[in-house]
């Protein structure tokens, strides 16, 4: 087939990109080469629309061993231990085939982590669906949950936390973001940089089939109305093979045979081989006849672009082939020497003794396009004027029950009970808390992780929203007593070719950058997913932030359930009564406009660090951050989990009671302390200039404000748990 401009455009390349390819090669590419360029230059692999902005994120820190650019980020947790972690999206495939799409997403992110030599110790996920009333939502939710569970459970890695949201902007584009944490010894981390000439290049894992050819290009295009008929191929996950691949790789990694290793994810053999060559400033020569294929008569084009799962590419030390082969044979996996490193700085592919591709590596990587896309700055919306009398007519308990049963607040037990969250025997905080926590096996340390997004705030004002998500992640870690270390981000947006969507991206990234810089909470890995768009309709901007923190002594971990009757409950942080964009405003007042709550980074940091001090001094019995639904929602959840009630004091403040209870001001935590500690706690809070209010006293089983305004905890629990169970059983 002779390549021309139209074929290039059919591969998703733009006309000027095709011209640039011909210029760089000084000739017309053949079809295999064109396929390679289209895979490397699409949005998913090249980050061509986002690179310019991602560069601005803070990525360094005292504990950062590896920032963005590798398979995953790595942070130091002391004693020669390190945590490897990353988040990744698998949105488009999950919409087309929810089970397999979600499953292979989980498989892909775990591979990124164990490629670096780390054993995965925890999975998390953030999933977003359309409105519950939309006809597809229920089946998509069921399929995605079973897919995530199907893969993670089989791998024997606990799923310890997650987030599920519903919003009509995801009706045509659901989001499936999966995150994995792995544990590695600091001196046994593996990277993808190839070094040394004439080193054997090894292919291991599953065979190559015609799976998902051009999957990465699919992730870089919007859906149109023909999506149902289009049916691009989606890969089928094989968690069993991945489990074997994990064990085999870790076994080989225990020795000193591996120079570089890279998993074959999006754009398969193409991106993995080019990545290794590019990082090492080398060339790679591959004989495609040696690649283990599942089907007969696969062409070089298909072999290079296949996205078959559960495969790895390794550069070995000379003479280690036999030893490596033995290990992969033991685990019943394919193993083949398919090429070698060269000094040519080119990627040279041979098939049936003929050269079928010959491309300088730098043309694919350094010379890949980078765009400074047009973007529109968002204005801060005007505050709404809320009629206080309307508020006074509302019944607090009725509103509370509505909020607790809201799909975005209600208990997600139906979901996380389908994930094995206790395998590996180190899960000390299960899903349903502020963060999931796993012990570092055999030590006193524990690692906390949480995953957050606030699309509504980001949509209302991207800059504030971007900051908010980072702060929320920070708070979720602190609430369990963990010191925040670093984050990974998964940036889900609409089309970068639309200046409003691009503006949302730019400003969210700016917000994320500002907050992570200020909180010393650097970004060490991440992924961008653009084109979450059907026809002209894009999703709400949805950056998901995965945060990781360390608890030095796991016995001092904090949980959110109320512990003891007669203990005192405080709210740390100031309540100004910000109602705009709150769940209360959107769902009770039906008011969708207005600015999100303001972020004050100084308070955020000061409040969080002071709370950590209180925790270190063993002064905190339970803690929970205040987020969706405000103070009273946070308190209700602590009551429900602890099976205790509370006598709430009437707030003696100028703002309305409803505003006080349902406002979503930021930087706040609810904490439980004993009576005898009140003095000490007050002292520390005052000394650090942290605002706090006393909220009430824990009782047996009732949320009590006054004789007319009270409700049993059992009733609140029913509101909180029934919605999802009922929805899924209908």
């Amino acid at each position: 087939m002779i390549v021309n401009e139209q074929i290039a455009i059919d591969h998703g390349l733009k006309k000027d990109e095709y011209i640039k390819i011909c210029e760089l090669l000084k000739r017309t590419p053949n079809i295999t080469e064109l396929g390679i360029f289209s895979a490397m230059w699409n949005e998913h692999c090249s980050y061509k629309s986002s690179r310019l902005h991602l560069k601005k994120l803070p990525t360094k820190g005292k504990q950062v061993i590896q920032g963005p650019g590798e398979n995953a980020g790595v942070v130091d947790i002391g004693d020669n231990d390190a945590i490897v972690f990353k988040i990744e999206s698998h949105n488009h495939p999950s919409f087309i085939e929810p089970y397999q799409g979600a499953a292979t997403g989980v498989g892909g992110i775990m591979r990124d982590v164990f490629t670096m030599g780390a054993r995965p110790i925890a999975n998390l996920n953030s999933i977003h669906f359309g409105s519950p009333q939309h006809k597809k939502t229920k089946n998509l939710l069921r399929g995605v949950v079973q897919g995530i569970g199907g893969y993670g459970n089989c791998m024997g890695v606990p799923t310890i936390a997650g987030q599920t949201n519903f919003d009509s902007s995801y009706n045509g584009n659901i989001l499936v973001n999966a995150m994995t944490l792995g544990l590695v010894k600091k001196d046994k981390i593996f990277y993808s940089k190839a070094t040394g000439l004439n080193k054997p290049v090894i292919y291991v894992g599953s065979k190559t089939g015609r799976d998902g050819i051009h999957g990465a290009s699919m992730a870089s295009a919007s859906f149109d109305e023909n999506i149902e008929e289009k049916k691009p191929t989606v890969q089928v996950g094989d968690p069993f093979t991945e489990k074997l691949l994990l064990e085999a790789c870790l076994e080989l990694m225990a020795g000193d045979s591996i120079i570089a290793i890279q998993d074959m994810g999006a754009a398969g053999l193409t991106s993995s081989s080019i990545e290794m060559a590019s990082k090492g400033n080398l060339g790679i020569e591959i004989n495609l006849n040696k690649v283990p294929c599942r089907e007969a008569k696969m062409t070089p084009y298909e072999i290079m672009l296949s996205e078959s799962q559960e495969r790895m590419l390794i550069v070995l030390e000379n003479g280690k082939e036999e030893l490596a082969k033995k290990i992969f044979d033991k685990w019943n996996l394919d193993f083949a020497v398919i090429g070698k490193t060269t000094k040519s700085k080119k990627i040279e592919l041979f098939f049936d003794d003929k050269i079928v591709a010959d491309i300088p590596v730098n043309t694919l990587v350094e010379n890949s396009p980078m765009y400074d896309r047009k973007w529109k700055k968002a204005k801060l919306p005007k505050k709404n004027k809320i009629n206080k009398e309307d508020l006074n007519n509302l019944k607090i308990i009725e509103v509370l029950k509505k909020i607790l049963s809201n799909p975005n607040v209600c208990s997600k037990e139906w979901i996380w009970q389908q994930y094995d969250h206790t395998v590996m025997g180190d899960t000390i905080q299960k899903p349903g808390g502020d963060s999931g926590v796993v012990r570092v096996h055999g030590t006193n340390k524990a690692v906390a992780a949480s995953i957050d997004s606030s699309a509504v705030y980001c949509w209302a004002h991207p800059l504030t929203g971007g900051k908010q998500v980072v702060c929320e992640s920070f708070r979720n870690l602190i609430s369990v007593g963990a010191k925040p270390i670093a984050i990974t981000n998964c940036l889900n947006f609409g089309s970068p070719e639309n200046d409003e969507n691009m503006g949302e991206f730019v400003e969210c990234v700016q917000g994320i950058g500002e907050a992570s810089e200020y909180l010393k909470f650097p970004v060490v890995s991440g992924n961008v997913s653009f084109y979450n768009q059907t026809k002209k309709e894009g999703i709400k901007p949805t950056p998901s932030i995965g945060g990781v923190g360390l608890i030095k002594n796991y016995k001092e971990m904090i949980t959110m359930e109320f512990k003891e009757i007669d203990n005192i409950v405080l709210v740390i942080g100031k309540t100004e009564g910000h109602i705009d964009q709150s769940l209360f405003a959107r769902n009770i007042l039906d008011e969708k406009n207005g600015p999100p709550p303001e972020i004050n980074l100084f308070n955020e940091k000061n409040n969080g660090e002071t709370l950590l001090k209180l925790i270190e001094n063993n002064l905190i019995q339970s803690a929970h951050d205040v987020s969706l639904g405000g103070i009273i929602t946070a308190i209700s959840k602590m009551c429900i989990k602890g099976n205790k009630g509370i006598n709430l004091k009437k707030p003696k403040f100028l703002i309305n009671e409803i505003e006080y209870f349902f406002a979503e001001d930021q930087g706040r935590y609810i904490v439980e302390i004993t009576k005898k500690d009140l003095k000490k706690v007050t002292e520390i809070l005052n000394k650090n200039a942290v605002h706090f209010d006393e909220l009430g006293i824990i009782n047996k089983n009732e949320l009590y404000i006054n004789e007319k305004t009270k409700v049993t905890i059992d009733e609140l629990r029913r509101s909180n748990t029934n919605w999802l169970n009922n929805y899924m059983s209908k």
Binding site: E97, R210, T233, V234
Partner: protein, 80 residues
Amino acid sequence: MKISVIITLKKDVLDPQGKVIHQALDGMGFNDVNEVRQGKFFEIDTKESNPKKATNKVEEMCKKLLANLVIEDYKIIDTQ
């Protein structure tokens, strides 16, 4: 009437179960197996008595629910 349908993964799609069953059979000494593909079997009993109409309806069921045509093929094998 009763209509039988077989659903299998498309020829080019990886069949992890078939692959592992093949390996296990091989380990047990059944060495002459080339490939194993696993599928699903449905027997649908419908009120429709016209075979052509019934087959069409079942085809529609396959397309809309029983199979995901992204990765699976269906084959109606028997009507009685």
